[in-house]
Structure formats: C-alpha cells, structure tokens
C-alpha cells in the first residue's frame, strides 16, 4: 500500500495557488463546497515516488483571524485536520504582505514548506530574492517557482516528500516577538500546554492576547481562568505600550515580515516594461477607466449575445427538427410520449441557454479575473454599488446576471457577509438575463421600436437600484467596505481558466438541469390532462382584470417560470400568429405591461434552485413571492397609468 501524505496549500489570494494546485493534481481533482458553506473546496490527488499525495487547496486569505468564512475555514482545517505538510504559496513580488501570513501559519506549528511563486513577476518589478537566506531566517524550505510555466513544481514535490520523511515538526520554528510580549506568551503557553487543547499552545496564547473571541470561547469551556489571565496580561501590554494589545501584535508581525523582506530582497535592474503599470493607470482612470470598462462590457455582451443567439437558434432547430420527429415516431402521440417529450424539451431548453451563453460568459469572466482586470472593475463600480449597501466586488455577479441569473447567484459567494450575499442575490434576480432581453427585444423592441426597448431596460436598472436600496435599508447590519489587493496585471493561465470555467459550468448544470427537466415534464402533464384552460380561467382575475392582458397570457407566464423566453415563444403559438401586434387586446400598452411583468414576476425555476442552494429555501421563497407580488402590482399600475395618458 502506498503511503498517504495529506498536503494543504495555503496563501494570500491571487498568488498562483490554484495554478500550483492544477499542476500538482492534473485531472485528478474534485471541486465542491466546504460542508455547509458556500466557499469552494478543491481537492486532488497525485502519486509521487511511491506516495499518494492528497492535496487540498485552501481558500486564499490574508490572515488567520476569522474575519471571513474563508479565514475560518483555513484556520479550522489546519487546526482540526492537521495536514502532514503545509505548502505556503508566497507571491515573491509582494513579499512583505505575504510573509505576514507566513508568520501566522508558522505559529500553527505544522510542518511547512514555502513555494516562492511568481519570481518572474518579482524580477520584472526589480526584485530578486535570496532564497537561501530566506530559508535560514525562517527555518523553512523555500522553493522558487513560476507556476504558470511549471517551473519548480518537481522540486516542490521532492521537498515535500523530504519534509514528510524527516517528520519535521516545525516546533520552535517561529518568529519571536519582543520580550514584553514573549514573556506573557510563555506564561499562557505554560498554562495551556498541559490541558490538551487542540490548538497549538503558542498559537492559542497569541490569539488569546489578540482577543480572538472564537478561541476565547473554546478555552472558556476548558478553563475560564486561562482567559482571565490572558485578559490581564493583554492589559499589561496595553499599559506598557499605550496601544491596544492586538495592534501591538499585528504591528510586530508586520515589522518582522518587513525586516525579513528587506533582508532577502535584492534590487535588480528592473526589466519591467512599464506596460502593466500603464495598463493599471488607464483601467482605473476616472475617465478612461470607465470608458474602457463600458466599451469592454458592451463588446463582450454584444458578441456573446449575437453569436450566442445565432448558435442557440441553430441548436434549437437542430434538436427540434431531428428529435421531435424521432420522438413522436417512437412513442406515437400517447401520454407517455408527450411527457417524455416534455422532459426532452427541458434538456433542449437548458442546453440552448447553457452552451451558447453561459459557457462563453464564464470563460471570459475567469479570463478577465485571472488577468487582474476584474479587481479594477470592482474598484470602478464601488461607488455605485454602495448605493445598495454593497461594495465594488458585488458588481461581478451582477454582471454575470445579464447572461444568466443562476451563475450570478452562485457568484455572490465572493461577498464577505451573509447580509451582503442576501442583498446581492436579491438584486441579481432582478437583473434582466439573456432570456429576458430576448423578451424585451422581440416584443417591445420589435413592435414598438428600439427606443422603447432601451427605455424598458433603463427602467429595469432603475428598479434594481430602488429595490436594492430598499433591501439595504430594511436589512439590519452595517454595510462592509472594500479592501482589496490589486495584483499586477498578468497573462492569464489558460489551463487554470479553462478548469475554473468547466467546474463552474458543471455546477450550473447540476443545479439547473434537473429542475428544468422536471418542470417541463410537469407542464406537459398539465397540458396533456387538459388543465390549461381551467388554469387560465383561474388566473383571469389577475391577468385580465388587474393587468388588462388577454386571458391566454396567463398560461405563457406560467410556462415562463421554466425559462423566461418561453413567454414570448408561446404567445405566437397560442395566438396562432407571428405578428403579435395584430392580436386584438394586445396593443402597445399591453405589450409593455406584459414585458414588465415577465421581467420581474418570478426568478425562473433554475434561479430559484440556485437561490435555495445559496440562501436556503425560506429566503428563496420570500424573494420569489415578493417579486411575484411586486411584478403584478407594478404591471397593474403601469397599465392604469399608461391608459390614462395614451
């Protein structure tokens, strides 16, 4: 039997962790979520020199204090799962900041090696690093790597095996604080050591002095006295230094990181073509930044929509022409055949959205993210997002929402607090997705003119702003602000981007497909059992009396829950004409009302599924119900207002 080594990758965000992870594990990886959390968990395995190496890619974080879910997960994993070896991925071009995290990792006392990554970018910045000196100061093996080119990966693995074999414990391998702190840490360590606390004693002692509530609570269960002593000791430090104890400790750690960085960094002639700097300046410029962003977004959406629309149409024709005949031949037109065809239609529906729109959008988004552009967009959009109590990063899922609300809901995970995620998913479900854009264009755009379509689009954005602000005001809690590192622009690593795209896409399929298929079958069943007519009569008080729409539109709206563009497609089928303006009782006003209702009335079934996954079924139900009532209410009001004026 091969020996198993459990390895965890840890480091700041955007240091190339996932590239190293991909290099190590290749195709043998599994990406899911941390149990009960919405943070991505990537695991993989590889064989090397007779060892089975299990690798886990921990979330990218800046500290081991639990400010965010990611930080909690990283800390808990290392403390509770005790990986055999930690690989700390360090960005050589931002050494000081990265070392701050390294020093904290060392406090956890696990065997550790450092992958000093992006040494090429560092060199371009004019920084060369004395690896041997760094090893000596830290007492940890340091392997220089350029992960995007696979440089140093083999050496990293060899060092990993070596570290494991030697059974390095990494005890006593840490940076010392100044005496007034060190003495007090020692006192706490003595109290803690005999108690069998699952955190390393030194780490727990430091965190107690820093006032880490999570660890305080855990130790309270063990012995309240220790926490009391820690509070007293922290008070002493505050008295001596005149500063809060946590501030003293954070400062000291940063000072140590700074000192190490300055000792190992050797300035070299900078070969940096100032291009990345220029690019940063332009893309964050108060005028050019926005112009660049808007042009880029228009270009992306225009090409995805036009090419995607064409491709989607092609797929539709292909599936319907070939499959429908085949199906009906196979099952005749019996009830089973109809139901099965319903399911097949569901698959087709899902595919014609997923392949032409979502896949390319994901790819472009992750390409931009890996290059570093997305953080610039977050920067530019921070002010606007603040109006809804969100910060710049929330613009990213919102953007995805214009393609499809499902990945957008999943994308809201990047936000720090539950409150923000809730506001963000709510706002996202109001964003007009590709299907809703089809409705706007093929109804209002086609019959009333493009300017009306544009007006409706702007109206939608206004509603998003108003409802977003409304949600922000009624939800308790404080908005969080943006703090984000903007790393150097770099050429995206295609393999990593493709992998990320694929896993996200796969996740979308898993959420959306079953429900679309189920929903399609169900609606076919309703149709097959002749329930359409009774249902539309049932809806008529709302549809006819309140919204002033033809009775039959109630059915199309019901189908629209599956996929929104069905509302328009079915209109032609049910009215029996492709020139909808000829239909009596479906004039310009009715078209506008119908479109507004279709835009807002409920998230589609796949989006509801994504909502359930992200925020739980109760809140998902509340959002859906709210939007249903809101859309009906709004539609009725618009109907009355417009009839008054026109």
């Amino acid at each position: 039997m091969d020996k198993i080594i459990r390895v965890a990758l840890a480091g700041n965000t955007n240091v190339g962790k996932s590239v190293i992870f991909n290099y190590l594990t290749g195709l043998h990886q599994h990406i899911g979520n941390w149990p009960g959390k919405t943070v991505e968990k990537a695991e993989g395995t590889l064989h090397f020199k007779g060892y089975n190496i299990d690798v886990i890619d921990l979330p990218g974080v800046y500290s081991l204090s639990p400010y965010s879910l990611e930080e909690q997960i990283t800390r808990n994993y290392i403390v509770h799962e005790k990986p055999d070896v930690l690989i700390n991925v360090v960005d050589a071009s931002v050494l000081e900041r990265n070392l701050y995290f390294t020093l904290q990792l060392m406090e956890l006392g696990r065997p550790m090696i450092i992958a000093l990554n992006q040494i090429d970018i560092a060199r371009k910045k004019g920084i060369d690093i004395d690896v041997e000196k760094m090893e000596k100061i830290l007492g940890i093996p340091v392997i220089p790597t350029i992960a995007t080119k696979g440089v140093g990966i083999f050496q990293l693995l060899e060092k990993l095996i070596d570290t494991y074999r030697r059974g390095a414990t990494n005890r006593g391998n840490y940076i010392k604080f100044r005496k007034i702190i060190e003495d007090r840490i020692e006192k706490l360590v003595n109290m803690l050591e005999s108690r069998g606390f699952h955190y390393p004693a030194r780490y727990a002692a430091i965190k107690l002095l820093e006032g880490d509530e999570e660890i305080e609570n855990e130790i309270k269960k063990l012995d309240v006295e220790i926490v009391n002593v820690a509070k007293k000791l922290a008070g002493e430090i505050e008295k001596i230094t005149g500063r809060p104890c946590h501030e003293v400790i954070i400062s000291e750690r940063y000072e140590a990181a700074s000192k190490i960085a300055s000792e190992v960094e050797r300035p070299v002639f900078s070969t940096r073509p100032k291009l990345t700097d220029r690019l940063h300046e332009v893309t964050t410029h108060r005028v050019w930044g926005y112009i660049t962003m808007i042009s880029l977004l228009v270009l992306i959406f225009y090409s995805v929509f036009s090419l995607g629309g064409y491709f989607s149409e092609l797929l539709n024709i292909l599936f319907y022409n070939s499959l429908e005949i085949f199906f009906l031949k196979l099952f005749e037109s019996g009830i089973i055949g109809k139901l099965l065809w319903g399911s097949a239609e569901g698959v087709i529906a899902a595919l014609t959205v997923a392949l032409p729109y979502i896949l390319p959008l994901y790819f472009i988004l992750y390409l931009l993210e890996d290059s570093g552009y997305i953080s610039r967009v977050a920067f530019l959009m921070d002010t606007a997002m603040h109006k809804m109590g969100l910060h710049g990063k929330a613009f990213i899922p919102l953007l995805l929402g214009f393609g499809c609300n499902v990945p957008a809901c999943i994308g809201c995970r990047i936000l720090e607090t539950e409150r923000e995620r809730l506001i963000a998913v709510f706002v996202v479900t109001l964003v007009p997705c590709a299907a809703e854009t089809v409705i706007i264009l093929s109804l209002v755009g086609k019959y009333l003119g493009f300017q009306w379509a544009l007006l409706l689009y702007l109206f939608n954005l206004l509603i998003i702003l108003i409802l977003g602000r409304f949600a922000f005001k009624i939800l308790p809690g404080e908005p969080t602000a943006l703090i984000m590192e903007m790393h150097e622009y770099r050429v995206p690593h295609l393999k990593t981007v493709l992998k990320q795209t694929w896993f996200r896409f796969y996740e979308f399929i898993k959420i959306a497909f079953p429900l679309i298929i189920l929903g399609s079958t169900l609606i076919k069943a309703i149709e097959a059992f002749g329930l359409l007519q009774p249902l539309s009569i049932m809806f008529s008080p709302i549809i006819v009396d309140w919204l002033g729409l033809p009775m039959i539109t109630g059915i199309t709206l019901l189908f629209g829950i599956l996929r929104k563009e069905l509302t328009v497609i079915l209109l032609s089928t049910l009215f029996g004409t492709t020139n909808l303006i000829e239909v009596p009782g479906f004039g310009p006003i009715n078209m506008i009302v119908f479109t507004v209702v279709a835009m807002f009335y409920i998230p589609c079934i796949s989006t509801i599924a994504a909502l359930v996954k992200e925020i739980g079924w109760k809140k998902a139900l509340m959002i859906s119900l709210f939007e249903l009532l809101f859309a009906i209410g709004l539609g009725g009001i618009i109907y009355r207002v417009l009839t008054l004026f026109i």
């Binding site: 800046y62 500290s63 204090s65 639990p66 400010y67 965010s68 071009s93 931002v94 050494l95 000081e96 900041r97 701050y100 880490d212 509530e213 500063r243 946590h246 501030e247 954070i250 400062s251 940063y254 700074s258 960085a261 940063h280 300046e281 964050t284 410029h285 108060r286 930044g289 953080s375 977050a378 920067f379 530019l380 921070d382 002010t383 603040h386 910060h391 710049g392 720090e416 607090t417 809690g477 404080e478 969080t480 602000a481 943006l482 703090i483 984000m484 590192e485 903007m486 790393h487």
Partner: protein, 94 residues
Amino acid sequence: MSIGEASKRRVPLSALREGESGTVISILKGPGRGRRHGSARCIMEMGLTPGTKVVMISSAPFHGPVVIDVRGSRLAIGRGIAERIIVEIDEKNG
C-alpha cells in the same frame, strides 16, 4: 510647532493627493463592533498598522475608493475606510 500646524499635517488617508505619501497614525473605530471585515483590526491586518508608509496612487471619482501603495502592494480601499485612516503627510510633499 503650533497645534494648528500639527493638525494641518494630519489628515484622513482619503485627503492625500495623487502621488502624495504619508505615515499611518491611527485608525478610527468604524460603525459596528468586534472583529469583522472592515474593522480597524482587519484594516491593520491588511498591512496598515500605525507607522506604515503609504503612497496615494489614485482615487475614483464621485466619492469612490482610493488606490494606495502599502508595503509594496497595491490596495483598493473604500472611501468610508479611507476616511477612518489618519495619516501624517510627509514633509517632502511640501
């Protein structure tokens, strides 16, 4: 140095002009409490401890966030936080 002069040189980070540098003096408490994202402690853990040098790189319009250089890295910081970070403007900036 009179008090007036001293207070003139101490400004919120957000008041630095592009290219101007300063030293972090303190971080004012934000809304809410405890260890959360955006708390003074979290800001310090991102490298903005008192005594740290910062350089203003750029700021977004309409009361937007700022980009600063701190510890060799580029940080984007929301205006709300930037207003809570008190810095002393370096002499050489004039």
